[in-house]
Structure formats: C-alpha cells, structure tokens
Subunit: 167 residues, 2 copies
DNA sequence: CCCTGTGTTCATTTTTGTTTGAACAGTCAC
DNA sequence: GTGACTGTTCAAACAAAAATGAACACAGGG
C-alpha cells in the first residue's frame, strides 16, 4: 500500500534517519545492541510517544526486537510508558535527562561487574596466600593489592560521575 | 613433549587461569576482544616479561591474535616493551597504573567518538534549521540543544575521571 | 465463548566481529 | 647469498551476539 500523496509516514525522513544512525553509533560504544539505539533514537526525535507497532513499522524491525529492546530501555530507565488514557496499547517516551540515562547505565551495566569483580578478587587473595614459594606469593599479593586499589578507585568514581552528569 | 618433572610451564596454573578469566570478563565490559583480556591478564600475573611466542604457547592463541592483541594493547598504553638488552625477540610488560590504563582507553576509545559526535550534531543543527513547519523546527532545536548539553557534560567529565583515577 | 488486538518468548537464522593460519617481510648469523 | 628466527598481514573460517518470526499468553469486546 503506497502513499501517493507525499511522503510515507512509515518511512523515516532523512533527518530522522541521521538521528537514528547517531544513536546506533552511540550505543555501540556502550556495548549495547543496535536495535536499542534505533528505538531510542526514533523516540528521541519524535514529538509524540510511539507504540511498539510504530517502532516495528518505521524502523523495519521485528516485533521481537522491539519488545526486547523496549524492555532493556525500560530497565535502563531510558524510556517510560506514557499514560495513554483509555488507550489499549501503550506508548513510549524517551527519558532525556543525562543524569537519568547515565544512572541507569551505571546501575545496570557497570555496578554488577564491579561487585562481581570485588568478589573474584577476594577469592583470588585467599588463593594467593596458599602459594608455597615466598617470592611468588609476595608478588601475587602485590598484584592482588593493585586490583583492590583499582576497584576502590572505580567505586569512588561512579558517584562523582553521576553527580557531574546531573547538570 | 610432556614435562614429567612437575607442571608443564606451557600450561597455565589454576591461579593464572582465574586471573586471565577475570581480565577476559573485564575487557568485555569495555567492548574489547577476548584475546586482549587474555594477553593482558597473563602479563599482569607474570613476574617476568613475556614474548609473543610465550603468549602463543601459554594461551593457545594464534600468532596473528597475539600480534594484533599486542598492537592494540600498546596503542592503549597498557603494555610496553621491556628493554631486552641484546636479546633478539622483544618481551612485553604490563602497565599497571590505573591512570595510564584509563587514560589510554579514554584517548583511543572514547574521545574519538565524542569528537565525531560533536561534528554530527552540528550538521544536524543546520538541517534542523531548514525544516519548514515552525513547531517541528522548534522541537528539533530543543532536542539538538539537548544533545549539545550531553556532549558538553561528557567533555567536562573526562578530565575529572582521569584525575580521580590517578591515585 | 470466540475473535481481535497487543505484547512476549524463544528456537532458528542472520549478522557481526574475532580468530586463525598461511604467506609474507625483515633481520641477524653464518 | 641462504637459512633460521621473529613478527605482521589479511582472506577465510569460525564463534558469539542479535534479529527474526512463529507460537504463545493475555485482555477486552462482541
């Protein structure tokens, strides 16, 4: 079904395309899947909330991708559901405060790794104590200590980051 | 050729294995390939510098991977060549100062994206001015302004990050 | 009920990115 | 020169991650 009266609203216009591409690039740096960038990008540049079906049709992605992408974006606090009134389907809007976006990313993607890292290091620290050769043991202790320093620095940095981005 | 007098020096001992696994996890968070984590991890836990061949044999990776991995680690400032005296082959040692590691990562992996992002946004800003519908144009300008704010925040944060990690 | 519209799940396919290994280049010793 | 050794390159093979789409669950409405 072609729209013969001007541009097809199902297609992205060049400007939208460019914004979407920008966000696709952006999320790749963060190690997130392409579809996340497409979805967030389109929401970011849209004046009205979009439904899952809107995303499917305009981005040419599958319902599955759109559903999973929205789930992740919600968990990151990067999109919220608009209160659609009596509407059946739900519409999504982007969160555009950097503070919120960064906070969600840190909470969901960074902190868990920091935590599990700390655990692994303490296990390592114990094992290092069991080494027989004293010289080797000393060296390992130093390196483990270094890892612990790294983790402490990481822990100190995150709150500062969040604070600086909240402006 | 089996070493019958104790552990084979070509094989990683359990502790080394664990450290390597930790770094493999770590670099994945940063979006870097597995081999980078393996190589840096083994260097980190080794008391002496290691040659390319050492890495190939102990990690069971190809010469190609080792060569490319070392190149990237050098560009990140995460390994340096030990001054091997009259030795033919070169030995590599890890940089273990967080400041240096973070600095290299920011310089090589983060800044370039920030820069290209700024460029893209200014192109976007121009295009937004060409939109006919005044309401749409106003909305787009706001969003572009928002993107510029994000970039400014990003630019402000990096130096602080480097400073905080240099301790 | 049954049917339609909305959204989720998950096994399979597709895409992307990494690793491999063979060919090659450079260097030193003889 | 020639051979042994060290390291690089890059097309092809492979593995990991993401997207697809069909089956499914759920919620109104008629």
């Amino acid at each position: 079904m072609q729209d013969l009266l001007g541009s097809d609203p199902h297609e992205l216009d060049p400007l939208e395309r460019q914004v979407v591409a920008m966000f696709v690039d952006g999320v790749r740096v963060l190690g997130l899947p392409r579809s996340i960038g497409e979805i967030y990008g389109l929401l970011f540049i849209s004046q009205t909330g979009l439904s899952l079906d809107d995303l499917v049709q305009r981005l040419h992605i599958s319902k599955g991708s759109a559903s999973q992408g929205l789930r992740m974006l919600k968990s990151l606090g990067a999109v919220r559901e608009a209160d659609g009134g009596a509407e059946r389907r739900t519409y999504y809007e982007p969160a555009i405060e950097l503070k919120r976006l960064a906070g969600g990313f840190i909470r969901e993607q960074v902190r868990p790794h920091l935590e599990s890292g700390k655990t692994k290091i303490s296990i390592l620290a114990e094992k290092a104590q069991d080494i027989d050769d004293p010289e080797r043991r000393k060296f390992l202790s130093e390196r483990v200590e270094r890892l612990e320093t790294w983790m402490r620095s990481g822990g100190r940095v995150l709150p500062v980051l969040q604070k600086l981005l909240g402006q």
